[in-house]
Amino acid sequence: MRGRRAPALPQAAPASGEEVLRIDRLEVEFSGGPARTTALRGVDLTLDAGRVLGLAGESGCGKTTSALAAMGLLSRGAVVRGSISYRGTELLTLPEKELRRYRGRHLAMIFQETTTALNPVIRVGDQLMMAARTHVAGSRTEARDRVLAALADVRLTDPERVMASYPHELSGGMCQRIIIAMALSCGSRILFADEPTTALDVSVQEEILELIRGLVTRRQLAVLMISHDLAVLADVCDDIAVMYRGEIVESGPAATVLGGPAHPYTQALLDCLPTLRGHQDSLPELPSAAGDTAAAQGCRYLARCPWATDACQAPPPLSPVVTGQPRMSRCWRSAAVLAHAARGGGGEPDGPGTDGAPVTSDDGSRG
């Protein structure tokens, strides 16, 4: 059909820590009729083999859109700009037919739905076989061996019985394991996991997260874990990026970011987490975002931010919080927020006096 040959796909397994996916200045706009909605405003992300990057933020902030853009699964009305490169191949300019060879073979994605993510009228085994034979040529027996290996890899006992079952005969946790096995049965290097545990109860959630962690280590898988639940992300991620209204507002190593946020939004998300130690009767709420459209010029978090000053009328860049360290924050007052967090966080923000000072010690006068 098409005369042009696609660039050869990288086959060798990436080395541990090797950068496998790079998203640069990704912008996505949806045009539904006359209205245009900007979903992403210049997102940069990198995924490394054997590491988990967490993507946090509230509904509609662009977490899923980022992953769908990388998979090439956005709806037809979406306008995508920027660059998404998989081990040297630019994915955004690939025609759909070529991109299909990457989906499921190099990049895989799993979703929040568990039981409904499998076809209700086809046996699990047939679905797994269909997926396993999509990208890899070979006999049925070979494909079956790969499916059985994948099922063993996701720690499903009695794979024969599982393969003979229909999805409605299995539990949500089992279905999610099967979906992971299916997604990885053709040897994908990258897994986009969009709220993979949200539909599961807490004990099963823990098992699935452990499973994903194990796969990351065993297969040198690169994972983008999308969740609104910071507790889940704290559990599995090496790095974390927090998104707000189509922008990354803070990123860095998970422990550092969650241990002491440098952006007021991350701080606000953390304040909403229930703890066993605290004796709160109610959890704090984020101020509503309703009517929050005026801040088109300045910081997008301005209207909800308790730290806002006059400087915030200008858009802040995503810049290193401490020179020489990998963590970034999109806030004019990162240093003050970080210093506040270092003193225990919570409560009222500091006044404008502490701005701009490099964070070396607790130099704030108020607490």
Binding site: M71, L73, R100, R101, Y102, R103, G104, R105, A108, M109, I110, F111, E113, T116, A117, L118, N119, P120, V121, I122, M130, A131, T134, H135, Y166, H168, E169, I179, M182, A183, C186
Partner: protein, 320 residues
């Protein structure tokens, strides 16, 4: 599976029994009752004694349940009575009429399933595209055109003006296959327009909702070829509406054949029932209604079994 069949049979048999009772009751619903209907010219010219003699001969003086029992055992032995009009056994009158009607109905079912189903799939896959919109528009037209008008236009334009197919008449299958197909082409076409449009709408909405579901998104994310996604993953979930549709379509087509057979002069059950009703030949009417009722009950039974076969969730729900 056999448990499902048994369970479903347990509900079909009462349905069939009730329909036989209704059919049996037909003779009492006719104006003047069965004797007057049989004598034709009214009972005035006969003495009470003569009427009583006829009633005794016909077994009409027995209690009604006994009459029903006699009639039912007769039916089960293939004895559907004697036509008042031609004085021939009902089975002899009806048998040659069954085939043209069944040919029409089965032909229309096949054509509307293949073409209507195909268009439905196309409409769902090409949602928002010109092709999809064209199908929606076409099936909308097909649903709103009255079949008697369509039959008249088909006979007039395709049959008489353009001479593509014979406008009226019927050549039996036993005489000539091509002649049979030729004479049935127009009536089948007319019957298929409405049923096909209806089915296309049905399939398209079932396909569309399947295509929007999480398992299809997962299939795209796995890089499955579109052909497989549409024809294996999504279509399997759109089979159920087609199966439930077939008995419904059958009943609608039975009504359609009455009209179409009369317009195209086809000697089927539809023309027969019309003349029998006007002749007050109730054994014939009874036999035709009974035949259709039993066929509908059997088709419903088959459809339910097929549904359980195609959808494992139904199978589990029934056998639990």
């Amino acid at each position: 599976m056999s448990r499902i069949i048994l369970r479903r049979l347990a509900t079909s048999i009462p349905t069939i029994i009730v329909s036989t009772i209704l059919v049996f009751a037909l003779r009492y619903l006719l104006p003047g009752g069965p004797v007057e209907a049989m004598l034709g010219g009214g009972t005035g010219q006969y003495t009470a004694k003569q009427i009583a003699a006829i009633e005794a001969r016909l077994g009409l003086n027995a209690p009604v349940p006994v009459q029903y029992w006699h009639w039912l055992t007769g039916v089960l032995h293939g004895n559907l009575g004697t036509s008042f009009y031609s004085q021939q056994p009902v089975t002899t009158v009806i048998a040659p009429r069954v085939i043209p009607s069944l040919e029409l109905i089965i032909g229309a079912l096949v054509v509307s399933t293949v073409i209507g189903g195909g268009l439905g799939i196309l409409a769902a896959v090409k949602r928002g595209h010109p092709a999809g919109r064209a199908v929606q528009l076409g099936t909308g037209l097909g649903l709103s055109v009255p079949d008697f008008w369509l039959a008249a236009v088909a006979a007039g334009v395709l049959g008489l003006t353009w001479n593509i197919f014979p406008a009226v008449g019927f050549t039996p299958l036993s005489q000539s296959l091509s002649g049979n197909v030729d004479t049935l082409a127009l009536p089948v076409l007319v019957l298929s327009v409405v049923t096909g449009s209806f089915l296309a709408r049905h399939v398209s909405s079932a396909m569309a909702s399947a295509l929007d579901s999480p398992y299809i998104r997962s299939a795209w994310a796995m890089g499955l070829p579109p052909r497989k996604i549409y024809l294996v993953c999504a279509l399997r979930n759109a089979v159920a509406p087609v199966i439930t549709f077939i008995p419904l379509a059958f009943t609608a087509l039975v009504g359609g054949t009455v009209l179409v057979e009369n317009i195209f002069a086809i000697p089927g059950l539809g023309t027969e029932i019309v003349s029998s009703v006007s002749n007050e030949d109730y054994p014939i009417v009874q036999a035709i209604v009974l035949l259709v009722g039993v066929l509908v009950a059997v088709l419903n039974l088959l459809a339910d079994i097929a549904l359980a076969f195609f959808d494992p969730r139904i199978r589990n729900a029934i056998s639990e």
